[in-house]
C-alpha cells in the first residue's frame, strides 16, 4: 500500500478541524501560526498572544504595519473588533490559570506519555531561549503539538523518553503529524487517525512504539 503525507496546509487544516466555535486558543510560533488560516468559516475563535492580546487578527495590509501591535513571533498583526490588550502578568495568568482552551505548539520531541521538548536541543555553545514555551505547555486546558512525525534523518520525533531538555512533563494531550494524529495518555500512545493507505503496523514501526488502536 502507498500513502501520501499530509502537506503543511493539510496538517494545519487537520488541527483547525478540531478547534470548536468559541474556543480561546494560543497558536505557537512557526507551523502552528498557519492553523489560523484554516479555521472553519462561520465559527468564532479568539486568538491569544502572550504579549497581551486577545482577539488577535491577521497580518495588516502592506504599509499599515504598526510595530506596537505584534504577535509572539514579533511580526505585525491586527486586533479584531472585541479584542483586548492587557499586561504580561495578566496574559500569563490567563495561560497558567487554565483559561485558554487550546494551545498548539511545535516540538523537537514528544514522549508517549506527553512529555514535551521544544525549547532547546541542548547543543553545546547554543544560546538558550525559552520565551513562553514552558508556561504555554502547562497552562492551557489542552496542549496540542503539531509537527512532522519524522525528523530529517527519518527518526521518530515521538519517543519513549525525550533526549532533549524538557519543556514540560506529561503536558501534551495530542500530537498532530503529517502521517497520523495520536493521543498521549499515561498508558502510552493511542491512535486518533492516520493518512489513507498507512497500515497500523507500519505506523508503529516508524514510531517504534506500540499504538493502541
Amino acid at each position: 500500500m502507498t500513502y501520501q503525507k499530509r502537506s503543511k496546509a493539510e496538517l494545519a487544516q487537520r488541527v483547525a478541524r478540531d478547534i470548536h466555535d468559541g474556543a480561546y486558543v494560543n497558536l505557537g510560533i512557526g507551523m502552528p501560526t498557519q492553523v489560523a488560516n484554516h479555521l472553519a468559516p462561520g465559527i468564532e475563535v479568539v486568538l491569544h498572544s502572550e504579549n497581551g492580546i486577545l482577539g488577535m487578527g491577521p497580518a495588516p495590509a502592506a504599509g499599515l504595519e504598526d510595530y506596537d501591535l505584534i504577535n509572539a513571533g514579533k511580526q505585525p498583526v491586527t486586533l479584531l473588533p472585541g479584542g483586548a490588550y492587557f499586561h504580561h502578568a495578566d496574559s500569563f495568568g490567563m495561560m497558567r490559570g487554565g483559561h485558554l482552551d487550546i494551545c498548539v505548539l511545535g516540538a523537537f520531541q514528544v514522549s508517549a506519555t506527553g512529555d514535551l521538548a521544544n525549547w532547546s536541543t541542548g547543543e553545546p555553545g547554543a544560546i538558550p531561549a525559552v520565551g513562553g514555551a514552558m508556561d504555554l505547555a502547562v497552562g492551557a486546558k489542552q496542549t496540542w503539538v503539531m509537527m512532522d512525525l519524522l525528523d530529517k534523518q527519518g527518526r521518530s520525533k515521538v519517543v519513549p523518553t525525550c533526549s532533549y531538555p524538557l519543556t514540560g512533563v506529561a503536558c501534551v494531550k495530542r500530537i498532530y503529524t503529517d502521517l497520523a494524529t495520536l493521543a498521549c495518555t499515561p498508558q502510552g500512545l493511542q491512535l486518533i487517525d492516520k493518512v489513507d493507505g498507512l497500515a497500523h503496523a507500519e505506523l508503529e514501526r516508524l514510531v517504534g512504539l506500540p499504538i493502541a488502536a
Binding site: 513571533g73 499586561h87 502578568a89 520565551g131
Partner: protein, 233 residues
Amino acid sequence: MINKISPSIADALSVVRDGHTVLIGGFGTSGIPAELIDGLIEHGARELTVVNNNAGNGDTGLAALLAAGRVRKIICSFPRQADSHVFDGLYRAGQIELELVPQGNLAERLRAAGAGIGGFFTPTGYGTALAEGKESREINGRHYVFESPLPGDVALIKAERGDRWGNLTYRKAARNFGPVMAMAARHTIATVHELAELGELDPETIVTPGIHVGKIVCIDRVATQAGGFKGSV
C-alpha cells in the same frame, strides 16, 4: 504639589547608580523605551543588571547598551533572536551573565516584587532544567516550583499619555511588561508622547496609577521599528 514631570531624560535618569538592577519594558521592539536606554548609555552607569524579555534587537537601544559594556548580567526569557547578534557575541565571549527565566515566571516574579509577595509556587518549569535546585511542592496532586520576587532599583517604561501625578496609559501591545515593572522598581521612569492635565485622563482607562511612577518625560513620537524576526534586519 506633586509634579513628576521631568524636564529631560538626563534629569529623570539622575537616580541611576552603578550596579543597579534596571527593569526595561518591551517585548522585542514593541514598548521598548529606546530614548531612555539611549539616555542610560549617555548617563554612563556600569555593572548594571538588566531585566527585559529579550536581549536587544539590531544595534540600537538595548543592543547598544550591551555593546557599550555597561551590562554585567541580563535576566530575560528569550535572548536568541534573528537580530540579537550583539548579545550573542558577548555571551559566547563570556562577557555577560545570563539568567534565563520562563516568560510567565519573569512577569509574575516582577508582579510579586511589586505586590509585596515573598515568592510563589508555579507549575511552569517543573521537571525541567530551569527548575533545577529550586524548592518544589505537590499541591492538590500537582507539582509546583518556588520562584522568588524580582525587584528593580529602576524601571524604564514606554507609555503613551501621562499627567503630573504620574498616571499612565499605554498604546496597544506596547503595554506588555510596563505595568508590572512600574510596580516592581523603587524608581520608575516613563516616557509619554502626550502630557495631559490632571483629570484629563479618563480614570477608567488609567492602567498604571501614579503611585508607581517617579518621573515622566514627554518625548516626540517615533514609529516603533520592526525587530526580532527574519526579514526585520
